[in-house]
């Protein structure tokens, strides 16, 4: 009995030890777990929450549709078309040689390039960012692990070369890089949205977290351009540049009443749909290039003289010497015109006559008039790369600067400025602001010269086309007014070269002006280089098309016989 009790006591004592041991072990484990929990919950909380979010939450970008660019009649100039972006995840990419060859062919890649792209050490890579949906479907049908396809948009330009300088293009990310695409990028692009989703590691969407920002699609932009006239301008320039083997040609057509730009073209051009655009052809020369306008400015300097009453249209100017001293050099006319009227000075484009008339106008008055006509100033069209040109302030003028300003030298202007300055003669003395967007309301002009002076000038400019230097600018059935210009180019050393820029600015129909066109041909090297025969035919062809398309009533005589045209040289220095 005593033994039994002893045994029981020993057992309980042992058991008590075991119990304590087990209890301590359990408590230790709990303590370890509790410590770890406190460590993770309190000390590593932010880091762990961030990591968990990164692994499960995803922001899915919601694409904002880029707006279209259309012409005034809603013809498409630029539109976003769907394409597929093919991506590969190299860590799970696996394909047989046969499938790799097929895949490379569909992606327009060589097999070696494909192998390089899917190297295991890389993260997700783009294999092709602009694949057609049809080809993308074939890629997906190959069922290669790690290959996925997502929808994206690519810009397409149906007008190709014809409107390339005007519309511009976008980069691969859809951001406007040139032209209207750059100018109106903010409006066109809109604002992309996103939604927050919950994903598993395998990429399966398990919940939509409803944290959504709705994308705002870009706005469509309606230009003032008329696609038909844009095409005509491009084709006319192409013909002239090829015929005269010129470096380039540019033209701009304005609605004289509203200042809307109906066509703005350059040749040579480029196809904005293809990669690898040559930098030489990207500039929209109508707004980015300046040149000395030459004789086209005479209309403005003579306007200043008429407006200041320093001369009258019937005054006789003696140009019989055939030359005139300007500083150290002599300015000549192409012929000795003798004693001619102010009208004939414009009609024959006499440099001597222009200087004699212009000298009577005070420098301040002449400068103010040129300034009011917008010479040497940006037009406000705010096209990317637009330059203002140069018109030296009259306070800095020497006598030669004053004299050369009368016949369009010693200053630089862009073709768009020149076209805008002639809206004065088309609107009875009011200048119109130019616009690339379709006008919704009637645009008001700013008075620059009186109606009387404007009418007198328009009549003189009409005589230039009728009997003067711009025979090639005639449009059958319409009265046309305009002025030719031929100026020497300045070389890189700052000296005049024996290369020329032939230009013409004209208005039609004279009875109720509707259009103003300015044309510039840079360095014509075959045949004539004068503004009349080089730029005149481009004007004539484009103006005829514009008058026909807009059904403008005829106000002139119809010539039934094709007359052999005589080339009457315009004055050059």
């Amino acid at each position: 009995m005593i033994n039994t009790r002893k045994k029981q006591t020993e057992f309980f004592e042992l058991s008590k030890l075991r119990r304590r041991f087990v209890l301590i072990m359990i408590l230790s484990l709990f303590f370890a777990l509790f410590s770890r929990a406190i460590y993770l919950q309190a000390m590593q909380k932010d880091f762990l929450q961030k990591e968990a979010k990164n692994r499960s939450d995803r922001h899915v970008l919601l694409h904002a549709y880029r707006g279209k660019i259309v012409d005034r009649n809603n013809n498409v100039f630029a539109v976003s078309t769907p394409v597929q972006v093919i991506t590969a995840n190299p860590s799970i990419f696996e394909a047989s040689v046969k499938k790799k060859i097929k895949l490379a062919r569909l992606l327009s890649l060589s097999r070696r390039d494909l192998e390089k792209k899917v190297q295991k050490n890389k993260k997700e890579v783009f294999l092709n960012r602009q694949l057609s949906p049809e080809k993308a479907a074939q890629v997906i049908a190959l069922k290669i692990p790690g290959i996925s396809s997502n929808k994206d948009y690519k810009r397409f330009y149906p007008a190709k070369e014809v409107a390339a300088h005007l519309i511009g293009f976008t980069g691969i990310d859809g951001y406007g890089l040139e032209g209207i695409e750059l100018h109106s990028n903010k409006l066109l692009a809109g604002e992309p949205g996103y939604k927050k989703i919950l994903k598993t590691v395998a990429g399966k969407i398990v919940d939509d977290l409803q944290d959504v920002k709705i994308p705002r699609d870009g706005q469509d932009i309606q230009l003032s351009i008329d696609k038909r006239l844009q095409y005509s301008a491009y084709r006319a320039l192409e013909k002239a540049v090829e015929k005269h083997a010129a470096i380039s040609g540019s033209a701009i057509l304005l609605d004289a009443k509203t200042g809307e730009i109906l066509a703005m073209a350059n040749y040579p051009s480029y196809n904005p749909n293809t990669k690898g655009k040559s930098k030489d052809f990207i500039r929209n020369r109508v707004v980015t290039d300046t040149f000395e306008p030459g004789s086209t400015i005479k209309a403005i300097s003579v306007s200043a003289a008429l407006e200041s009453k320093s001369t009258k249209p019937h005054n006789i100017i003696d140009t019989s010497a055939g030359y005139y001293k300007v500083g150290r050099s002599f300015v000549k006319d192409t012929h000795k015109y003798g004693k001619i009227s102010v009208k004939e000075v414009i009609q024959k484009s006499s440099n001597i006559g222009a200087i004699i008339i212009g000298e009577k106008v005070k420098p301040k008055y002449l400068w103010n008039t040129l300034n009011n006509f917008g010479i040497g100033q940006k037009t406000g069209v705010s096209f990317p790369g637009e330059v203002g040109g140069k018109l030296m302030h009259y306070k800095n003028w020497r006598k030669t600067d004053h004299q050369s300003a009368t016949y369009g030298y010693g200053m630089s202007t862009s073709l768009i400025q020149l076209a805008r300055s002639y809206t004065v003669f088309a609107n009875q003395g009011n200048i119109k602001s130019v616009s690339l967007l379709k006008a919704k309301d009637l645009t008001l002009g700013r008075r620059v010269i009186s109606k009387k002076t404007s009418d007198e000038m328009l009549s003189m400019l009409e005589s230039v086309v009728k009997d003067g230097t711009a025979d090639h600018a005639k449009v059958n059935g319409y009265r046309v007014a305009g002025k030719t210009g031929t100026s020497k180019k300045v070389g890189p050393n700052g000296k005049y070269e024996s290369n020329y820029i032939g230009s013409f600015v004209g208005i039609a129909p004279v009875s109720n002006p509707k259009f103003v066109i300015a044309v510039m041909i840079d360095t014509p090297s075959i045949g004539s280089y004068y503004g009349g025969p080089v730029a005149g035919p481009v004007f004539s062809s484009l103006m005829a098309e514009a008058l026909k398309i807009y059904s403008i009533p005829q106000d002139g005589f119809i010539e039934n016989n094709e007359q052999k045209r005589e080339v009457k040289p315009d004055s050059i220095i």
């Binding site: 539109v79 769907p82 397409f156 149906p158 007008a159 014809v162 059935g477 039934n560 016989n561 094709e562």
Partner: protein, 84 residues
Amino acid sequence: MRLNLILYVVLIFFAIATVNSEHQYRNNYSRLDIEKKTTSELRDEKTKLEVEESDKSGNLRIQTIASEKLRMYAPNKKEVKVIR
């Protein structure tokens, strides 16, 4: 006791209503998503048609067809008669 029972029934009712509302939301969200996809597809289709139209009505194409297929040309000055 009776009040508890009423509150219990109300609780059940609101619980079912909440579940139903969530279900309706998901259904509507899913429908909205489908509609958005359809809108996008239709817009892509419209874009394709616009591009096709633009291509078919291209000035160069019309000019080529007019001159080569239909043998059209711009009348010369002798052929123009103006009726005033």
